[in-house]
């Protein structure tokens, strides 16, 4: 081995376990005994024979043994160092990806929030209500100016129109909050900064009339340039709530026109604490009682390094700077990562910090996801016993063991064999000397014994390391599969929320109740606006109660879709049964003629008479999720990687509740439409469970991690499982 690395993990490093130190000591003391033995052998050679050629032969052998034993001590040091480096690398890479998962989870969620607020601001009930409120304020101000004595009779009439507009706006805000359970409240605000309507009934009496004109989120909303723009106020206090708020806002514009004059603002109060609690507590190891293990912490900081959410506020308090190394608090934009070792809460810890890259068009707020774990945990032996499905030999030969470690082991093996060979030749020489040579026997015995025992020790270290690597890989793959299933469930939760809310749109029920060309065009136009605001739909359609498609978001699809009757399609038949606006239905991934037999995932909601919350079905809104384009990037992001490259033979795929592959990053080995039956218990998981194991596909051995959906919030999931696999040969 020519490349000489600095030895970082020698036996004096406190992370080296007692067992390893003992093994190292034994190997070294064995090897150190070789030198005196060889000197003894050289002296004996002079005693037992006068033949100078024989003397030289013995001398040469002894020198060779000395040479190899010295070089074996060097290799042993290297081997221990590499063993610990391998453990460290693997632990760091898992922590790094965990920190990344967490920040990505939250950013993906927030991207949805920016879409939501922009879309909702176009709602007729809101801009009409705010227009009336502004007029009423203007009239009141004019009256005040005119003098108090003159009682304005016309204001009465206006005021009752405003009252009913406020009631209706509150109702629509409630509808949104019922469809999207991620919000604590939603408010609309008049131009002068007074809260006019809100969604949360319980808090309504405190909120209505509140002056928010000095709050950032309100001012930011008024300054948005058009309907595509939004403002976000980072986690901070607001007069709207007693807890810190994360508020997304945008302007309400005249007549709901994206370019129209600003007439007010809409603010949506995201349940950041609830959401981050779910995300922060995920992926932390639990003890037997179900509590997060000591020394493991997870928290987010904002761009100023202030903690905005923490998995354990007793250790990492909210609202202050976290007591972590400075370098971890300030990271560069663009997904910068920092891994440090330092003291956190009195414990020697590894601190992994990952700055947000935002997600998609959402640039994020420069938050950082931090993960703290006990430093010693990186080097712990994995306690789970090795899976019997794999032999140590197969494992040692697999690509889970870094090539470098394998080469070092082979080097040890080679040196051991050299020593063995020298020793046998020595015995041959000694035997030729007859009785005189007998005194050499113990020397060669000792040399042979040392070679064997060193190699034996190394072999067990290597197999120990292999099983640790396997366990760590299992854990990593389980994490990835959990991430894959969580991300898709969260995404589909949003789709389920979207479809429920959109189904209540007045343009849709009006068009179905009075299907004039104008009304149908208006409905198509609305669908078009929705589709333009969201990136994840291929199309949105409205089918009337007979199953004819009467409106579509894409004008170019109109002629083709109008010829198709969907009354026998599963999504339509389910959607037709819906009589409550909080319900939705879904047609699991399959090929649909609506999309030229492309794989479709269709969510649908019932369009109810007069837009009531409960009522008779007038038709169905179907939304065609852009399945591959959403699922594949998620799966791709969950592939096992080494130094940013996907590992050879790595793949990720979803299967439905029939174990049929519905999206796959490796269509050659795990084609869409095929049944996946590898991995024993991994195919029969309970909701929310993860598992790992081994299987063989197309003659190749793989390890896999699997995670079955547990749904997300009130969205139950479709019984899918995510599998993330890695070939080991």
């Amino acid at each position: 081995m020519s490349d000489i690395e600095e030895i970082r993990f020698n036996v004096y490093n406190p992370v080296v376990t007692y067992e390893h130190r003992a093994a190292y000591d034994e190997i070294m003391s064995n090897l150190q005994e070789i030198s005196p033995i060889c000197n003894q052998g050289k002296c004996k050679a002079l005693e037992v024979t006068d033949d100078p050629q024989k003397q030289k032969q013995i001398n040469d052998l002894m020198e060779q043994v000395e040479f190899f034993s010295k070089s074996l001590s060097g290799t042993t040091k290297m081997f221990f160092d590499q063993l610990y480096r391998a453990k460290e690398n693997s632990a760091e890479s898992i922590s790094d990806s965990t920190a990344h998962i967490k920040i990505e989870m939250i950013e993906r969620n927030l991207l949805e929030r920016t879409c939501d607020v922009r879309w909702w601001a176009l709602e007729k009930a809101f801009y009409e209500c705010i227009s009336l409120a502004n007029e009423s304020t203007a009239a009141a101000n004019a009256d005040k100016a005119k003098e108090a004595g003159d009682k304005p009779a016309r204001k009465r009439g206006n005021s009752s129109a405003l009252d009913s507009a406020v009631t209706f706006a509150c109702r629509r805000l409630e509808d949104i909050r019922k469809s999207y359970t991620l919000y604590r409240d939603l408010v609309i605000v008049s131009l002068d900064g007074k809260v006019i309507a809100n969604s949360n009934e319980e808090r309504r009496s405190e909120i209505l009339g509140l002056d928010v004109s000095q709050e950032d989120w309100f001012r930011g909303a008024l300054n948005t340039k058009d309907g595509t723009d939004y403002y976000v106020q980072d986690v901070t206090s607001s007069s709207l709530e007693n807890v810190d708020s994360l508020i997304y806002s945008t302007a309400l514009r005249k007549d709901g026109n994206e370019q129209g004059e600003v007439i007010g603002a809409m603010g949506i109060l995201f349940d950041f604490q609830g959401e981050s609690e779910i995300i922060l507590n995920d992926y932390l190891p639990l003890d037997e009682d179900g509590y997060v293990q000591d020394g493991y912490l997870s928290f987010f900081t904002n761009s100023e390094g202030i903690v905005i959410s923490s998995s354990d506020e007793n250790f990492i308090a909210r609202g202050v700077r976290a007591d972590i190394p400075r370098a971890n608090s300030y990271l560069a934009d663009g997904g910068d990562t920092k891994i440090s070792i330092g003291i956190v809460c009195g414990k020697s810890s590894v601190i992994v910090s990952k700055r947000s890259e935002g997600f998609d068009e959402y640039r994020g707020l420069g938050w950082i996801s931090h993960l703290v774990l006990p430093y010693s945990s990186m080097f712990q032996r994995s306690d789970s016993s090795l899976d019997s499905d794999i032999s140590t030999q197969e494992l040692v030969n697999s690509n889970l063991i870094p090539e470098k470690n394998k080469l070092t082991y082979q080097e040890i093996e080679r040196k051991k064999k050299e020593i063995q060979l020298i020793s046998i030749n020595g015995i041959v020489l000694a035997t030729d000397l007859g009785n005189a040579g007998k005194s050499f026997m113990p020397i060669f015995d000792q040399i042979t014994h040392t070679g064997d025992s060193v190699r034996g020790r190394m072999e067990s270290l290597l197999s120990e390391m292999s099983s640790d690597m396997l366990v760590q890989n299992f854990k990593a793959l389980e994490n990835f599969s959990k991430q894959a299933v969580d991300l898709i469930d969260r995404n589909l939760f949003e789709r389920a929320a979207d479809v429920r809310w959109w189904s209540t749109d007045h343009a849709f029920w009006e068009a179905l109740q009075n299907p004039s060309e104008e009304n149908l065009d208006q409905a198509s136009k609305r669908l078009g606006i929705i589709n333009a605001s969201y990136t994840m739909y291929r199309d949105l359609v409205i089918a009337d109660s007979g199953g004819s498609i009467v409106a579509t978001s894409k004008a170019e699809n109109k002629d083709r879709l109008q010829r198709i009757n969907v009354s026998e399609h599963s999504w339509f038949r389910q959607g037709k049964q819906i009589s409550d606006s909080v319900d939705f239905a879904v047609q699991d991934v399959c090929d649909s003629e609506l999309e030229n037999e492309k794989t479709s995932l269709i969510y649908c909601g019932g369009i109810l008479e007069n837009g009531e919350r409960k009522g008779a079905s007038k038709g169905v809104l179907g939304i065609f999720f852009d399945w591959e384009n959403i699922a594949l990037p998620i799966l791709d992001g969950c592939l096992p990687r080494l130094a940013n490259n996907v590992v050879e033979g790595g793949a990720a795929f979803y299967v439905n509740d029939q174990s049929m592959v519905i999206a796959s990053t490796d269509v050659e080995n795990f084609p869409v439409g095929s049944k996946f039956d590898g991995g024993g218990e991994n195919v029969t998981l309970e909701p929310g469970d993860t598992a790992s194991g081994l299987f063989t596909q197309n003659g190749r051995r793989y390890i896999l991690g699997s995670s079955k959906t547990k749904g997300y919030r009130e969205y139950g999931g479709l019984g899918w499982t995510a599998h993330v696999v890695r070939a080991i040969v």
Binding site: R414, Q420, L421, V428
Partner: protein, 159 residues
């Protein structure tokens, strides 16, 4: 007496240490066109030309391929053997130095005379001399007089 043991497939076989001249580190040999198939070729050991027999082929088994682990045992010729051996040993080798290409060295064992057992009747093989039991393993001691002189007998024991 000491024996060096090595692997023949899954079987341990042994030869007396006294019969060995040397086991060189390198096992490079030069193949010779027209030589019997059991002969791997020739090696040059300090000026001596030595024929190398492939142990696997000699037994009609799979050929021993040259590898990092494979070794060539070089045996003494008769006169070298007589020079050094204790007089009580009766071992017939070959007139020339012969090499035996083996898959892998196993180790060195010490065997008492009384431990050497005759080969069971139903297992008799021309190259087997005796059998020794060590712990859980049986070790077959090779009949070097036969295996090293096989050019005289070739055809007799081969398919």
């Amino acid at each position: 007496m000491l024996y060096s043991t090595f692997k023949l497939g899954n079987t341990f076989v042994g030869v007396p240490i006294t019969s060995i001249l040397e086991i060189p580190r390198s096992s490079v040999f030069h193949s010779v066109r027209g030589a019997p198939p059991v002969i791997d070729g020739l090696i040059n050991l300090r000026g001596k030309i030595i024929t190398v027999i492939n142990l696997g082929l000699a037994f009609g088994l799979e050929k021993v391929e040259a590898s990092e682990e494979s070794r060539i045992y070089i045996f003494k010729n008769d006169s070298e053997f007589k020079e050094v051996a204790d007089s009580d040993q009766e071992l017939k080798l070959s007139e020339d130095n012969i090499g035996l290409h083996v898959e892998r060295i196993a180790g060195v064992i010490s065997v008492e005379e009384k431990e050497l057992q005759p080969i069971p009747k139903n297992m008799v093989h021309p190259y087997y001399e005796s059998v020794v039991r060590k712990d859980d393993d049986f070790i077959i001691i090779l009949k070097l007089s036969k295996i090293l002189n096989l050019e005289q007998d070739s055809g007799e024991f081969h398919e």
